[in-house]
């Protein structure tokens, strides 16, 4: 059952119970008090009738001028006494009886209001156990309603008499009953009203919860752009804002993961392509050499030549891949290195290979100390020089420079080769991307060189930037932060 309805039923039941209980208790107290008063009244009435009986007897004795009355006279006097209060208005007195010997026997006088049989008097104590002067009362119920019966023993010259008076208290009871019913009815009605109000309030409070549910459902089903409108009281606004923050975070993460997955798929696709392409030539030419009946010398040289070229290409690719994989995981051996020394060494190593292609490599620049992994950093330089050479024609030069700046040492490799457009420049560090495929492939490239450089730079906390103009040339800048004086080796990871 929904919360609103639960609360409605609970509050209705509780309030009804509470109101009814409270009014019940209060009414009961009142009723008890009233009964007490009525009992006191009945007792007082009884005393009055008792003394009235005595004076009636005295009066009769005076009238007849005798010291003791005979039984007829006693009856007469007593009857007069018990009848008198009947005419008094609104006292509740409804009758009396006098007996000479205990309850129900030898009745000498009786008076009562209304019709009906002889009132059955309640179990009042035995005539013998009654003490003089003491009133005994009890509440009884007959077909006319509730009564209080009082009795006492009266001693007169003529003998002992037992006086019973009956007092009507039915009104009190019916009043009590009526009050209880009214209280219950009013209580229920009030409770219903209050509960409805509470229910309405709960529904209003819970509306934002159902809004939130709807929104979250939509988001869970895949619409990450859904948001809640921020409105209402403070708690509502807070909740809406939290939900929106969550949704935004989910959306951002999903987008980030999608782009990572996209990138990864692209990488794998490119890798597969780069491997399968040389393999195709190798496999097919190899097969032809094997199964053809006659292969001319020219064909043999051509086919075998291509097989060797493509195999070299695969060799290059796999070694670059390995380097790339290692660069991620390898432990670097960082040491303070003199830039001039490093770059002079590199020129000596890589220069001859470039010269073989007709390209000169030359270096000048500032010196300085940087923290780097020697081998890895050299690999970076080689790759940049290689790229520069690939872009250049025979007769051109590749310039290696080092310049000291505030934020670190700027090492640059520039060429006057083919250059790149802005669009190409943006994509150039993507794995396997080659600006000029055929040119790179001819030189045995796989498109991984720059990715490798970027990885290596990252491990050295260095930045790579590039500038290029088509037809003019390209310059690649590597900014390596200065080695901190007193910094521990391997500090910068």
């Amino acid at each position: 059952m929904r919360l609103g309805r639960k609360i409605f039923l609970a509050s209705f039941a509780l309030i009804t119970a509470a109101v009814t209980a409270v009014s019940g208790v209060l009414l009961r107290r009142d009723f008890s008090k009233r009964l007490e008063l009525l009992q006191d009244g009945a007792a007082a009435e009884h005393s009055y009738v008792s003394s009235s009986l005595q004076s009636s007897l005295l009066q009769k004795r005076t009238d007849e001028n005798v010291p003791v009355l005979d039984s007829a006279a006693v009856s007469y006097a007593v009857q007069k006494a018990v009848e008198a209060p009947l005419s008094a208005y609104g006292t509740g007195y409804c009758g009396a009886a006098v007996f000479t010997a205990g309850q129900g026997t030898d009745m000498i006088a009786v008076a009562r209001t209304g019709e009906g049989e002889e009132s059955r008097l309640p179990l009042l104590p035995d005539a013998d156990s009654m003490t003089e002067g003491k009133c005994y009362s009890a509440i009884c119920k007959d077909e006319d309603g509730r009564r209080i019966a009082v009795c006492s023993a009266v001693t007169a010259k003529e003998g002992k008499m037992y006086l019973y008076t009956v007092y009507d208290i039915d009104e009190a009871y019916s009043d009590f009953r009526a009050s209880l019913i009214t209280a219950a009815a009013v209580g229920t009605a009030a409770s219903l009203a209050v509960s409805l109000v509470i229910f309405a309030l709960i529904c209003a409070i819970l509306r934002p919860v159902s809004d939130m549910n709807k929104t979250l459902r939509l988001i869970a089903d895949g619409d990450f752009s859904k948001r809640m409108t921020v409105r209402g009281g403070m708690e509502e606004r807070e909740m809406a804002e939290s939900v929106n923050a969550l949704a935004q975070s989910v959306q951002d993460n999903v987008e980030r993961l999608e782009s990572i997955a996209e990138g990864r798929k692209h990488y794998v696709d490119s890798l597969a392509h780069e491997m399968k392409t040389p393999l195709t030539s190798i496999l097919c030419f190899g097969d032809l050499l094997r199964i053809k009946r006659s292969v001319s010398d020219g064909e043999r040289i051509e086919y075998a030549g291509i097989i060797v070229d493509e195999a070299r290409r695969m060799k290059n690719l796999s070694s670059k891949l390995l380097e790339l994989a290692c660069a991620d995981n390898m432990e670097l051996e960082m040491e303070p290195v003199s830039v001039r020394e490093l770059l002079t060494e590199s020129t000596a190593t890589v220069g001859p290979a470039l010269r073989a292609r007709g390209i000169t490599l030359e270096y000048t620049g500032d010196d300085g100390v940087i923290l780097c992994d020697r081998e890895l950093f050299k690999s970076l330089i080689y790759n940049l020089c290689d790229n520069a050479a690939k872009a250049s024609e025979a007769g051109q030069s590749v310039r290696l420079r080092s310049k000291a700046a505030d934020n670190g040492m700027v090492i640059s490799v520039s060429d006057s080769g083919i250059g790149m457009t802005k669009e190409v420049l943006k994509k150039v560090t993507e794995p396997f991307y080659m600006a000029d495929k055929s040119r790179s492939r001819k030189a045995g490239g796989a498109g991984l060189g720059l990715s490798l450089c970027v990885e290596i730079a990252k491990r050295h906390n260095a930045r790579i930037t590039a500038k290029s103009r088509p037809g003019v040339g390209t310059a690649v800048y590597v900014t390596v932060p200065w080695a901190k004086i007193g910094g521990a080796v391997g500090d910068e990871k």
């Binding site: 392509h273 195709t280 291509i306």
Partner: protein, 220 residues
């Protein structure tokens, strides 16, 4: 003989395909750009029996080329390095006859092309070898004037060799091409059939055994 257009941007792959096609006598031309390919096909669709189309082309991708040449009705076989099903389905949906996954062996390529040529009726039904004449439509073999009875499989093996002369064929490839790749019999089956063909047609000197490789029908 069939004329085949090769649309492939990698120079070496294009060369190897051309060399393979020449080995069995197909004529071919190489185009390395998608737009060029579209033009060539549109201008002379009738002259091309099959177009071998690489999926990854630099400026216009293979599927786009396919879309543009489909109306010309030329048979197209896709060359792709990717294994993914989506690409294959895409290609076939656009109307390609088949696809070949790189890397491939020479005979693989030739087998696919043959299937397509047969389907489009461009495969020659009459084959000659010396005084042996074979009609693939009528299913007859004649040596000189006499008709030679061959079992169905013997016939298929003979036709296979006639279409791939001067090329060494391994037992596995022969089994695959003639009996289908699900065949689980021994490669002895091949040997027995070769023997029969040699005997019935007197090809002992021409249908030679290449040690460690297979068999080859050498042209005169």
């Amino acid at each position: 003989m069939a004329r085949i257009l090769i649309v492939e941007d990698d120079e070496n792959i294009a060369k190897t395909i051309k060399a393979t096609l020449s080995a069995v006598g197909y004529e071919s031309e190489i185009v390395s750009d998608g737009a060029d390919a579209v033009e060539r096909v549109k201008n002379s669709a009738a002259s091309w029996d099959v177009v071998l189309l690489d999926v990854m082309l630099p400026t216009m991708d293979g599927f786009e080329v396919m879309r543009r040449i489909a109306p010309c009705g030329v048979s197209v076989i896709f060359l792709t390095a990717m294994q993914n099903v989506l690409d294959k389905v895409n290609g076939l949906k656009l109307g390609a006859e088949d696809y070949i996954v790189k890397p491939f062996e020479a005979l693989e390529l030739l087998a696919r092309i043959e299937v397509v040529l047969r389907r489009t009726g461009k495969l020659s039904t009459e084959l000659c070898y010396g005084d042996i004449r074979v009609d693939t439509a009528a299913h007859t073999v004649a040596k000189g004037a006499k008709s030679v009875p061959l079992t169905p499989k013997e016939f298929d093996v003979l036709v296979f060799f006639l279409r791939n002369q001067d090329i060494a064929v391994t037992r596995e490839r022969l089994l695959g091409a003639v009996w289908g790749y699900e065949f689980e019999g021994e490669s002895r089956t091949v040997d027995i059939h070769i023997q029969q063909i040699r005997k019935k047609l007197g090809l002992h000197d021409c249908l030679v055994t290449i040690p460690k490789l297979g068999y080859r029908l050498e042209s005169r």
